[in-house]
């Protein structure tokens, strides 16, 4: 069919048209580490939320087997009170995921808006807003978190709120830095010349272009939030029993590191898996949302 080989004159682009969402999805699929991470992450979520129900032992249930190493019956072993560590880890994962993801999203939303507004307007607005950020940054994190958590703490969402209230300032610093350089770009001036409002310039030009740095920061925040929650739980200000978190499990198992190492390593492994997969997913998302990204990854 020779006719089909001739490029029709009114169609310069021969590539099939795709919607924006399709393009983003395709680019994400090209990032293999991100796809694998996403699968692992989904499995982790399923395990934590559905697996907990299906597993034969309950997290708070005492079994007759005290301090047994990992076996078919207790894949992660049991603690000295006979509680099944696998059920505990699943429950801890649930809480830790909820805390860290809420912190990351909340702190990123607030921090990005805060930093973008400060960076875009500059002048006294910038000075005022950034001094407030600096103030939050100078607070001794653990001490304030412990104090706040002690008064309002206990449930996971309050812990998340407290941690987010301290971490947004980091995000605002990053966002402001990126926006400071972006606002001098010609396309921002072009949008202004076109009559676009300040809100539109911030939300449609500055934030999307700062997305790369912000997403990377978000993935770091997830890991940081887990760690801070761990510290808080270790100090006794975090999640309180019978609820548990990965951090709490790790700190509880510290004393048994030499005698019952499985109690320490399994929750630790889960913390690493969560931090790592979120990191890769963030990496893949950043590439997927960048329209200039055409590189095919291995």
């Amino acid at each position: 069919m020779p006719e089909t080989l001739v490029k029709s004159p009114d169609r310069e682009f021969t590539v099939e048209e795709r919607s924006q969402a399709q393009l983003v999805f395709r680019r994400f699929l090209q990032h293999r580490a991100a796809v694998v991470s996403l699968c692992v992450f989904v499995v982790l979520i399923l395990l934590a939320y559905v697996g907990g129900w299906l597993w034969k032992y309950d997290a708070g249930q005492y079994t007759p087997d005290n301090s047994v190493p990992p076996s078919w019956d207790h894949p992660f072993g049991t603690d000295s009170a006979g509680r099944d560590q696998f059920a505990q880890v699943l429950r801890g994962t649930r809480i830790s995921l909820q805390v860290s993801v809420s912190v990351a999203i909340l702190a990123t939303l607030v921090g990005t808006l805060w930093g973008s507004v400060a960076g875009y307007f500059g002048g006294w607005v910038d000075t005022l807003m950034m001094r407030i950020s600096d103030l939050v940054l100078t607070l001794p994190l653990i001490a304030v978190a412990a104090m706040l958590a002690h008064n309002f703490g206990g449930s996971w969402y309050l812990i998340a709120l407290v941690i987010a209230a301290l971490y947004w300032a980091y995000v605002s610093r990053v966002a402001r830095g990126v926006v400071l350089s972006l606002r001098e770009k010609e396309f921002v001036e072009a949008a202004k010349a076109l009559g676009a409002s300040d809100t539109r310039i911030i939300l449609r030009h500055l934030v999307p272009n700062a997305l790369g740095s912000i997403l990377v920061n978000l993935t770091i925040l997830v890991a940081l939030a887990i760690l801070l929650e761990t510290s808080l739980s270790y100090l006794g200000f975090g999640v309180t029993p019978p609820d548990t978190s990965l951090g709490l499990l790790v700190s509880e198992a510290q004393t048994a590191l030499t005698t019952r190492p499985w109690l320490f390593y399994f929750p630790g492994l889960f913390i690493i898996i969560i931090a790592l997969t979120i990191n890769f997913i963030g990496d893949g998302l950043r590439d997927a949302f960048d329209p200039q990204q055409t590189k095919v990854r291995q």
């Binding site: 396309f187 001036e189 076109l194 676009a196 272009n209 329209p291």
Partner: protein
């Protein structure tokens, strides 16, 4: 009434010093007292060398840079005094085409959302049909709407920039070096597109460029800028045929001619020295420090106004105290010799015959 009346416009950028307490130690007089008018439907070309303030003037007219003093009356309304929401709404009628088509397009915006942005900002409707019409009008290929700026060639990007300026149906378009970032073969296409759009839509242009040929090709009237001020203004043909200001003469004498014999005879007017710093512009006539026709009387003390010479074509105005005398030939230019710098002077030339290094020649 003219579409655009700029009167005594000045943009001074403060130079500040000090880390803790910043104080203003001086100003860069980027634009200093420019007046010009542009009629509906005409193209005004602005030429000048780098750093003369032509881009700043264009930005100040669009109020992208805050003017220090002066007024910009657009269709009878002073734009320079507008603020906030009023200014944003007023922007619909005057648009800008930028020099670098890539950096002026948001890399994360498809052509479609880029064009919609202006229409949304001003509550214009028209939907997909209007977008397609714009894309067709500037000669972009079909299917461009969903593409991103980096997927286009330089010329196509500039077409996107033009389409973006057009999407709000403006009256005036300020084109800041619209083709200087483009390949020569593409420059003509974009310039022709601009003039076709002008004919179809009745647009008014202010074209800023450093390329004399570009300005001559597109402009009805041309203004020549030197160090923040307009030194000569004339209908395009007249300016090129009969430049009256010494600076314009020097500028035009630098243009090579395609005829080799004429090129041999072409006499260049050489200017001494460099462009003075706009932070410390010379007193009197800004050009007097480099002018071959400089006279001892007023040049260094009194700043010349733009004025119409007797017998010159209508609209040909020049800012020079001695324009008549120069034209009549009663004052002669001072000789500016191109001095050959003898680099070997002072060095012992009689070094070893087959020296392998400078050290050896110098005998060290």
């Amino acid at each position: 009434m003219s579409l655009l009346e700029v009167e005594d416009l000045a943009v001074h950028f403060p130079i500040t010093q000090g880390t803790l307490v910043s104080r203003t130690v001086g100003h860069v007089y980027a634009v200093d007292g420019v007046s010009l008018t542009i009629e509906q439907g005409e193209t005004y070309g602005l030429v000048g060398e780098s750093g003369c303030g032509k881009s700043t003037l264009g930005r100040a007219i669009l109020k992208l840079t805050e003017p220090t003093r002066g007024s910009v009356r657009f269709d009878g309304r002073d734009v320079a005094a507008l603020k906030g929401e009023e200014l944003r709404k007023a922007r619909r009628r005057f648009q800008m085409v930028f020099q670098d088509p890539l950096s002026s397009l948001d890399p994360r915006q498809s052509v479609e959302s880029l064009l919609q942005e202006g229409m949304k900002a001003h509550g214009l409707t028209g939907g997909h049909a209007r977008l397609q019409e714009l894309v067709d009008a500037v000669g972009l290929p079909k299917g461009s709407l969903r593409r991103y700026p980096h997927e286009f060639s330089g010329g196509q990007r500039q077409r996107i920039g033009i389409a973006r300026a057009l999407c709000v149906e403006p009256d005036l378009i300020v084109a800041d070096e619209p083709v200087s970032a483009l390949d020569v073969s593409v420059q003509a296409q974009v310039l022709n597109l601009l003039s076709r759009l002008q004919a179809e839509l009745g647009l008014t242009y202010l074209v800023i460029a450093h390329d004399l040929a570009v300005v001559r090709h597109v402009s009805d009237r041309v203004g020549v800028m030197y160090l923040g001020g307009i030194v000569e203004e004339a209908p395009a043909g007249d300016l090129y045929a009969d430049p009256q200001h010494p600076y314009t003469k020097a500028l035009l004498s630098a243009v090579p001619t395609p005829d080799p014999e004429a090129e041999d005879r072409r006499e260049r007017i050489l200017l001494a020295g460099d462009l003075p710093s706009p932070a410390a512009p010379p007193s009197g006539c800004r050009f007097h420090t480099r002018c071959p026709w400089r006279q001892a009387d007023r040049c260094a003390t009194e700043r010349p106004e733009l004025r119409q010479l007797e017998g010159a074509p209508a609209g040909h105005r020049v800012a020079c105290h001695h324009a008549e005398a120069i034209k009549a030939g009663t004052i002669r230019p001072h000789e500016v010799d191109a001095t050959l710098v003898d680099e070997a002077a002072g060095f012992p030339v009689d070094g070893p015959d087959h020296a392998s290094s400078v050290q050896e020649i110098l005998g060290r």
